[in-house]
Amino acid sequence: MGQTSRPLGFPLQEIISTFATKYKAVPPRLRVLDIFACCALATAILQFIYSLIVGSFPFNAFLSGIFCCAGTAVLTICLRLQISEGQTSSKTPERAFVDYVLAMSTLFLAVWCYIG
């Protein structure tokens, strides 16, 4: 839509406003999943910065912390994909949630054993 030349190659202002209006239509369930996934990613990045400053001395603890956060982010996003409308698979939302819980439990088990 923008014909006049702009400093950026893409219309940033319009993307944000379109995204904001469209996002209001997302149900609360999916929003919670979004928030959780973003927090998990943020936690992973914070841990990485911490290890850059202090060093990755108990390397097992470092790896398990990063992978736990990254893993929860990934699994939460998978759940969101499976639950949101427009999915063609035959999986019911309940089945997707159960898969999510089992996967997270396995992840936490592995992380807890490896962390100390």
Binding site: F36, Q47, F57, P58, F62, G65, G116
Partner: protein, 430 residues
């Protein structure tokens, strides 16, 4: 009767065998209590001029045998047994008999027996060699110590050789206070020097700053080499051997003579004190083996771990001729050594002769030794060591949850909590 006779003969024979076996045992029990002293003199006038000194030895309870140094009959050693416990040499001038050569006397000292040698300026070469091995390098034959300022005018015969001296400060405490306060006269003495490498030899009497060693038949100091004088010129020395045998080297035989012992309190005190020190009657230290344990653990465990708290104990007693009492040392140290000492700590005295220290094993593993190496002038030497291996941590002994990893633990906890809340919201929201 023809049957009884062989029986009688066999009985008698057995009786003789038994008596022959018992006799040496019975004979040996009634004797050597470490008290046999051999005194070697150059001629019998010494026995008369030094009779007070010899009586002092006898009065202490020793069994004194006086003999000429050139005698063929007296021996120090009979194949393997030492026939005497202590040796006193007065003179050192003559050539020694075959049983008492200077080499034999040195073996005698190295076997742990005490040696007391007082020489004259005309000491023979074998005595010189013996004293050299004891750490005292004697001046050339005929040299005397001369001091034109500090001499005793009454005794001196004109050459200013009756030199006055007093006990060295490093050995204060080894002699009685009255000996340390009075001057000691050393007439007609030969000086010697003690090499710095001879750590066993301690100079007791040294020349005053105006004393020097004069050549034979003159009062000029030695030429062609540095003359010995002042503090480096020693007139008497005490030797504490590594096997804790003791010896004394006196450069003047006349300082022990009757006239000097009678007239000079310092000489009398020095004669008695040096004799009792050499004969192991004073300042003899005995140490027990080192005991060690983890604090309040079993005694002497076979193995320690790094960073253990360990306490070490040792008992030291100080013995006189009559009794032993706890040693009151303030500077006994224990070292924890593996090639080099990793820890050196002063032991505290707990009262009844027991010394203790508490130590943290260093962060190095290997085979260590507890070493107590106590060498002080005038006291016998203590060397005790106990070997103790030290192992590193086992894999389960490292600390588990480190404070550096708390952010990681925290993040995992946060994930778990977040998952539970999300799950709850998912299940129970409308």
């Amino acid at each position: 009767m023809s049957l009884d006779k062989p029986f009688h003969i066999v009985g008698l024979f057995l009786l003789l065998v038994v008596v022959a076996l018992i006799h040496p045992i019975a004979g040996a029990s009634a004797g050597s209590d470490n008290k046999k002293v051999l005194v070697l003199v150059d001629d019998h006038t010494t026995t008369k001029t030094h009779s007070t000194f010899l009586d002092t030895i006898k009065r202490k309870g020793y069994d004194v045998t006086v003999s000429l140094a050139t005698s063929d009959e007296v021996q120090l050693q009979d194949v393997e047994t030492w026939l005497f416990d202590k040796l006193v040499v007065l003179g050192g001038q003559s050539k020694y008999g075959p049983g008492i050569t200077a080499r034999k006397q040195l073996e005698f000292f190295e076997a742990g027996h005490d040696l007391y040698v007082a020489v004259t300026p005309s000491a023979g070469s074998s005595t010189r060699a013996l004293l050299g091995r004891l750490g005292a390098d004697i001046e050339d034959s005929g040299s005397t110590v001369v001091d034109h300022f500090k001499y005793n005018a009454k005794i001196d015969e004109g050459g200013h050789t009756a030199v006055l001296t007093s006990i060295d400060d490093t050995l204060s405490g080894t002699f009685t206070p009255s000996t340390e306060q009075h001057d000691i006269i050393c007439p007609r003495s030969i000086g010697f020097s003690i090499s710095p490498e001879a750590y066993m030899t301690m100079g007791v009497l040294h020349g005053s700053p105006t004393a020097y060693s004069a050549q034979k038949d003159s009062t000029a100091a030695g030429t062609g080499k540095t003359a010995l004088g002042g503090y480096n010129l020693k007139l008497a020395a005490l030797v504490q051997g590594r096997n804790n045998a003791r010896a004394a080297v006196l450069g003047s035989l006349d300082m022990l003579s009757n006239s000097l012992i009678k007239s000079s309190k310092g000489n009398a005190g020095f004669a008695i004190d040096s004799l009792s020190w050499v004969f192991q009657e004073r300042h003899v230290l005995h140490a027990s083996a080192i005991r060690h344990r983890l604090v309040d653990g079993p005694w002497n465990p076979p193995l320690y771990r790094i960073k253990d708290d360990v306490e070490v104990f040792v008992d030291i007693e100080e013995c006189n001729s009559s009794r032993c009492q706890p040693f009151d040392g303030k500077d006994v140290q224990v070292e924890f050594v593996m090639l080099d000492p990793y820890i050196r700590k002063t032991l505290t005295h707990l009262g009844n002769g027991t010394f203790t220290a508490q130590v943290k094993v260093p962060d190095v593993y290997g085979v260590f030794k507890w070493v107590i190496d106590y060498k002080r002038p005038g006291y016998s030497w203590i060397y005790e060591s106990e070997t103790v291996p030290v192992r590193p941590f086992r894999h389960y002994e490292y600390s588990r949850f480190l404070s550096q990893a708390f952010p990681y633990y925290g993040s995992v906890m946060a994930m778990v909590v977040g998952f539970l809340f999300t799950g709850a919201f998912f299940l129970y929201s409308t």
